[in-house]
Symmetry: C3
Subunit: 360 residues, 3 copies
């Protein structure tokens, strides 16, 4: 058969795409609240998974495919702590072993009747899965800071971004676009200020410290610190998929936004965002304002990420050009590629990479 | 141009798919009742066909593509027993010859103006087509047994299954799934009984005889034979695409379900089911109960077949594991592959292949 | 990963498709009225374009992709005559140069920050774009005849055809299908007349003159020339994409339909039709009848072109057979292929190619 090109090729580009696939890592499969009686269908790194609770309530994750006739196990149900396929009733435990084959005269278990199992942890209100099957991981999932700490209030939000993990994380930690895309919410009002970004690296982390920024004039800044003051601002990326924004405004306000990315596929990223904050106002007063603002910001980012992803596909790849003020996109990408090659830096002391002046 | 992988590859499997394409065979294109004045668009083995009635009422089948400008002939109409294209009005007879080219000064007929024709038979209320073009077949379509036989009632139902021919036929002849997927309708109530299956083969047929099964406790069994009794039960596959289930329950009840498959494409199968039965009740009393039960059973199977097909595509192939009680799936597959190689067995006496014990 | 064939291959054909991609040519991007304050998203030859008006009102066309992070520039807005990206606010002038990078301390312009620009002209109410980027074309767009000429009335209509440029143009200039597909509107009533077509070629033009046709009996003919009379009828194709039909009916009526094709992609063509006419009735009386008739004709053609395109894709290519009365399809295709090779004929005097008799 012939390959019929449906559309004319746009101007040629090199087939570059900023996609990594880090399988030996922990990702969030779902929130603890989402996982109840019924098995839950999830996709991580393009792999169909089924998450369920065993008899003792412990979360377990299997490849979402019955080894018998390849229907999704997530179409079945949990029976006495085992996951039962809906087609012929085969039952699997949390380790992936087949424990029952209805109708069969003989032993149910068998090596060929296993389904791959993924190490699973429940921690900080999330169910984490290690994306290499049938291994006991040497690491544990990331622990969220400031959770349940006295004086801090926490809010959570899950959203899905139509972009690659790298594009979504770069967007989450990108300062210049906030003045345009989110004009009025953070920045983008009044005269810009020239500030300095100091980029540092250690182990699986890259961080930008922004020095000299006055309190943003936008809505969020005014609510949090009406009297102004100097801002302490850090943007951090932690392998494999965590974007963290930390603000201290004046003496009273401390805000920590941790967005943990799950690469659903090469071009879709689920973000589990956790905001922990301490402000001059009580948390219960601030919290109702957070969600609508966060969702509006996220919606604006989503529109851009979707358009970016579509255009990358249309052109068969990316052709980005960066400037000095694309502060973290490059270092994050290099760290991801190092992790892909198994060469993550080992220095535990922050190493200064470069300094950049920018106007915000 | 570059190939951009849209989703991460799931765990690698061997690229196996249970698909055969037997073109030198008869399949049902449509029912006699469906074929009226207008030409009928059909797809068999992925080939677009147009079925129509010639002047004498005889059914004819052509490739559904005008040789002139490649629009579907099924968009046209039948004019004086010829099929007229809707674009420029070219006319074709049932043998595929071009008989008129409006506007042309000269002869309409011409070798290059033919369209491929497929041998067609109307029999037992179906229009059958032989899927190799422009040949006179050496065989005739399958004749349905017990049709119009005294004491028997017949019901028909056409359904479309989102699965390959093999997956659909295996499902139609699979005993163990009935206890789960169709729990309560046939089996799946009360304690299971251990019975024996004897598998036999001859020519293009493979058959399983189930010995020792008491009357099923489900709804259908109770209606047919309220007093219980021993069941005689045969499941048969006949090349290229026929699944037949035969039950004798007690002395009075004889039920024959013949499902004739038309492979629309590699992953879609149309089933023309004919149920002929003789029971202790008059046929007119039984018949109204049949359709809703059959449609419910079929809907449950459809959901599974669709999920199976989707997952096979997602993984780029099948990775099935079978047990002893997958009684007919393997033998059917081997027979289909033999037919593909032109090596169908010639023994006319049934040969016993194996015996299996199973619990139903 | 494996290539899984979703559908059976229909009978094999040679992978021929009548598609050319003539990039060094002028096409219509949009009408003048469509291009206002906001940037306009367009696709020509499969290339995403953004059209906008610079500060002086002049139309400009850029590749619709920001060189920074590859989002469509058409999602932004025009600010002081420059096109501003909606993501980070980069600004571009009509020549594709980057003129502002918000936040950057330093020069905005830079070679790597350019976006390809396409020569653009506004003429006869259309915005034309030359589809080779970053060159100054040696030619100018086609000038529409009879526009604003005394005694003539003009009507315009834009439609999108689901077919390749060649299929759409052949359809627009094809005489025989009018008797069938558009039966009653032009021709197709009463006895056919045998007439002669004379095909002539010169430079980038091929023309068929139809000699001896009486006034068509259809609706359009009766309105225009109720008293009958002999028809002068020319069908013309002009490179790269113009189909022109010219009628003189009797002494009073002169009708010129120019359909200028824009190849949106290989299989979608936008047609900008301009009808200039002088009839025995005043133009204001005729004009209200034109649009509904034109739209009906076009709808019938659309249905056929879509079905043709779908079937070509299904079979992986075309397998056309032509007759003598497919008068212009072949010559147009040969001219398009010559243009693709840069070998357009240079004779300025019409050269007679052949004569054909046909019945209309």
């Amino acid at each position: 058969m012939t390959a019929l090109v449906p559309t004319l090729a746009p101007p040629a580009t090199k087939p570059v795409t900023s996609v990594v696939r880090l399988a030996d890592q922990w990702y969030i499969a779902c929130t603890s609240r989402e996982l109840r009686q019924a098995p839950l269908k999830r996709v991580v790194l393009g792999v169909p998974l089924v998450v369920f609770r065993e008899g003792d309530g412990r979360a377990a994750t299997l490849l979402d495919r019955c080894p018998h006739r390849n229907v999704p196990l997530s179409m079945g149900k949990v029976v006495q702590g085992r996951l039962q396929c809906g087609y012929h009733g085969w039952q699997f435990d949390g380790a992936g072993a087949c424990r029952a084959v209805p109708g069969l005269c003989g032993v149910a278990e068998g090596k060929g009747r296993r389904t791959p199992a993924y190490a699973t942890r429940e921690q900080d209100g999330f169910v984490w899965v290690f994306m290499t099957a049938d291994v006991e991981p040497a690491t544990e999932p990331y622990r969220l800071p400031r959770l349940n700490e006295k004086g801090y209030t926490t809010a959570r939000q899950t959203v899905t971004a139509p972009g690659s993990l790298h594009a979504t994380i770069e967007n989450a930690l990108d300062v210049p676009h906030t003045a345009f895309l989110h004009a009025g919410l953070f920045r983008g009002q009044g005269e810009p200020n020239e500030i300095e970004a100091i980029v540092r690296r250690w182990e699986g982390t890259v961080e930008a410290q922004y020095v000299g920024e006055p309190r943003p004039e936008g809505l969020i800044g005014r609510i949090l610190s009406p009297s102004g003051g100097i801002v302490e601002h850090y943007d951090r990326f932690l392998l494999p998929s965590i974007a963290q924004v930390e603000y201290r405004i004046g003496t009273e306000n401390h805000i920590l936004v941790t967005s943990i990315g799950t690469p659903v596929s090469d071009w879709e990223t689920r973000l589990y965002a956790v905001i922990s904050f301490r402000t001059r106002f009580p948390g219960w007063l601030i919290k109702p304002f957070l969600r609508p603002i966060a969702l509006r910001v996220f919606h604006q980012d989503t529109v851009m990420l979707r358009a970016q992803t579509e255009l990358i596909h249309r052109f068969g790849g990316e052709q980005f050009v960066s400037t000095d003020i694309d502060v973290l996109g490059g270092p994050i990408w290099r760290l991801m590629k190092q992790a892909e090659r198994g060469e993550v830096p080992t220095n535990t002391e922050p190493e200064e990479v470069r300094r950049v002046r920018l106007r915000v």
